[in-house]
Amino acid sequence: MAQSGSIPLIKTSNLVKKFGSFTALNGVNLEIHPGEVHALLGDNGAGKSTLIKILSGVFPATSGEIEIEGKPIHFASPRDASDAGIGTVYQDLALNALTSVTRNFFLGREITSFNSPFGLMKMREMDRIASEEMAKIGISITDPEQAVGTMSGGQRQTLAIARAIYFGAKVLILDEPTSALGQKQQMEVLKTIKRVQKLGDIAIILITHNEIHARLIADRFTFLSLGEVIGSGTAEDLAGDDIKTLMAGGAEIGDLAKELETV
């Protein structure tokens, strides 16, 4: 599955991000390939969210380069990144819980007559597209006018993913999509991710603290610790113990057990 020979969809070289004197990222190199689920793992504060925020244009890197399909690129805003095909599903999903599924699906990109903010929205067409797109990755909604607030966490996640894909995401970034969900809904989301992968050439960057989830669906792993890459490899390369240790930033779980005893 790994197309190591081809040009990566996204390639970062020596990304550095400083918040004042604090170095959140210290020279990160990353390659994301089409059709792959790439797990980005690491302890709290390792810099995962910082890395994807740079990739999705929320803030610029202090230094370093980002290439998309071999071309260096600079994002001035989240809009630039999404135009370049990077669709980000944030931890808070960027949904307005008070309005309907359709209104959220098209938020910021509504289909209107005359292409003007004051043109009427083509509600029926938008309803249809929203339902179809969500059905494609596994959720049927009966009522596109349902308020998002009344949907389950898994459904919301699907909505946010479907939205990103529909609006041309070549790279889908998912920041801890399963962290707030119950067992069944976690599985729904993993299935959704699998279905997205099957759609074709979309690359997925998955941030998670759940080793089992990573192992279940990821094709490639990158481990971050204290702002640096401490390990990477394909699913086949990595043995069971390695992942847990690397996820903890190199600390042995065995050490942790000893530490706990001293408390």
């Binding site: 989240p78 944030y90 008070l98 309005t99 209104r103 938020l107 929205m121 049927s140 308020a147 607030g149």
Partner: protein, 528 residues
């Protein structure tokens, strides 16, 4: 293992929508109920105690004049409630609306009264240090359109500045517009005093009066432009000439109408005289019944039954009358002034008088000439706001800006533009309100619009909006304005209670609405 749960889908968990019941979970349903209650109260309590009827239009509340006056209060409040409401949906406040009304009204009135000039002050040293002005341009007579336009330039800019400060500084709009509230009210008073010089007005006054009644200026053949009042008091010979210059059709229609009016007036006079004559007899009858004098009772009853006064003879229609009636039908030359300060539906209200005979007062004259045109302006603005908020991309942006600011930003919604535009729109609504007042009464006062911002916000809350934003509809805002505007009138007519209870009532309604709205919002957010 097979189990039935495997076949179930998430979608199956939603019961199919029941259209009828769905109506009752709409956020507007509570306010609509209160509104209907108030309509009923106003209708029935305003019916005089002596009459017993189930027709709510029988009382003062909903006779022609009652409708005219109530709708005026409601629609004026409704106009600013739209501006305040959309802003609240986007998550911000505007406390400067009331002062903005005062400022805009004063600005418009001063321009209409004294003209407009752009001056540059500089310090002159000739003959002692003092300030001189260099006039870039000045006009003495400004048309209503330009007066409104110039005022808009000031008010919309001020709205823009408030919005800009809010989005740039991240300060709560409460504070920023609170500043605006004091700033504008002060500025209005200061400039009114500065411009009020003798001999025009007494110095130091904070009112502007003697603005010509622009909406009633007509172009009369052979006399040029003059006000209707002046036209009607032209020499009688001129008026007779005018009548003779009219087409026979026109004269016939006008004569017929005037004859109708004179007949109705005569009838009303007769009726009044009859009741006046009968009253003492009825009093006597009462006494007779009490004293038990059957003979007296019978004679007085006879007298009452046969009582009649000579019917009053209607006036005859003269040429001068026709001319004056004709003057009332000539369209104004200041359509803009009339648009804001004039009447609408005059044809309908004429018809309700002649021939329907409902729009008739106790003296037989036509009761209300029409509705105030601010009702139409409110309607236009409401439709516009409804379409924008519910049907357009801009509306979705407004909801998301208030509902979840960071989500809106992450999806590329220009939330700052949305907010600033709505601050500007709020200023726009306040200016429209001021224009309606100025062109209607032809005066302005620095105190105009006092506390209106709170009324507008209250109307919006009653109509189902939530202070944190993202929630509410234009229909709700409209209903809120109705409730707020009707409450005072409705309580005024309740027998035996103090009229000020309407405030107590509104206070309770505001709190109840806020609780209800918050509950509905939480329900939608999935927190309940």
């Amino acid at each position: 293992m097979t189990s039935s749960t495997e076949l179930r889908q998430e979608a199956d968990r939603h019961a199919p929508k029941k259209q009828f019941w769905a109506m009752f979970v709409r956020p507007e349903i509570g306010p609509i109920g209160v509104m209907i209650l108030l309509f009923g109260m106003l209708g029935y309590f305003s019916i005089p105690a002596a009459e017993s009827t189930w027709n709510p239009f029988a009382g003062e509340g909903f006779n022609a004049l009652g409708i005219r006056n109530n709708l005026r209060v409601i629609s004026q409040l409704g106009i600013i409630a739209l501006g305040a409401g959309l802003l609240i949906i986007a998550g911000e406040f505007d406390l400067s609306i009331g002062s903005m009304i005062g400022f805009a009204g004063a600005c418009m009135a001063m321009i209409l009264r004294w003209g407009f000039a752009v001056l540059i002050p500089y310090i002159s040293f000739d003959g002692g240090v003092h300030v001189e002005y260099f006039t870039i341009f000045s006009v003495d007579h400004v048309t209503p359109v330009w007066a409104i336009f110039i005022t808009m330039c000031f008010t919309l800019t001020f709205g823009w500045i408030q919005g800009f400060i809010v989005v740039r500084s991240g300060l709560p709009s409460f504070i920023v517009t609170l500043g605006g509230l004091f700033f504008l009210r002060g500025l209005t008073e200061v400039s009114l005093r500065a411009f009020n010089h003798r001999p025009d007005q007494s110095a130091g006054s904070t009112t502007v009066t003697e603005i010509p009644d622009l909406k009633n200026i007509i172009d009369l053949q052979g006399h040029g432009e003059l006000s209707r009042l002046d036209a009607k008091s032209l020499p009688e010979a001129d008026l007779v000439n005018l009548t003779q210059s009219l087409s026979t059709d026109m004269v016939a229609t006008l004569t017929e109408r005037l004859a109708y009016t004179y007949n109705r007036v005569a009838e009303a006079k007769t009726a009044i005289m009859e009741t006046k004559g009968v009253k003492p007899l009825e009093k006597a009858l009462e006494n007779a019944v009490q004293s038990g004098n059957d003979y007296m009772v019978n004679t007085i009853q006879d007298k009452i039954a046969n009582f009649s006064v000579d019917p009053v003879v209607p006036k005859t229609v003269s040429d001068v009358d026709v001319a004056r009636a004709y003057i009332d039908t000539i369209p104004t030359v200041n359509q803009v002034a009339n648009f804001f300060g004039g009447n609408i539906l005059e044809g309908l209200f004429d018809w309700l008088y002649y021939p329907i005979d409902w729009n008739t007062n106790n003296f037989g004259n036509q009761f209300a000439p029409g509705l105030y045109s601010c009702v139409m302006i409110w309607l236009i603005l409401s439709i516009f706001c409804y379409i924008v908020l519910s049907r357009t991309q801009a509306g979705n942006w407004i909801y998301s800006t208030g509902g979840n600011l960071s989500a809106a930003q992450a999806n590329g919604v220009p939330t700052n533009k949305v907010k600033i535009s709505l601050f500007v729109f709020s200023a726009f609504c306040a200016t429209i309100f001021a224009a309606c007042q100025v062109f209607e009464v032809n005066t302005s006062d620095a105190a105009k619009g006092n506390l209106k911002e709170l009324e507008a916000i209250a109307a919006a809350v009653i109509g189902g909006l939530v202070m944190t934003g993202g929630f509410g509809t234009v229909l709700g805002i409209i209903v809120g304005a109705f409730i707020f505007g009707l409450a005072r009138e409705a309580f005024f007519y309740i027998p035996g209670i103090d009229g000020s209870f309407y405030r107590v009532f509104l206070g309770l309604v505001i709190i109840a609405s806020a609780l209800l709205n918050e509950n509905i919002r939480k329900r939608i957010m999935g927190n309940i």
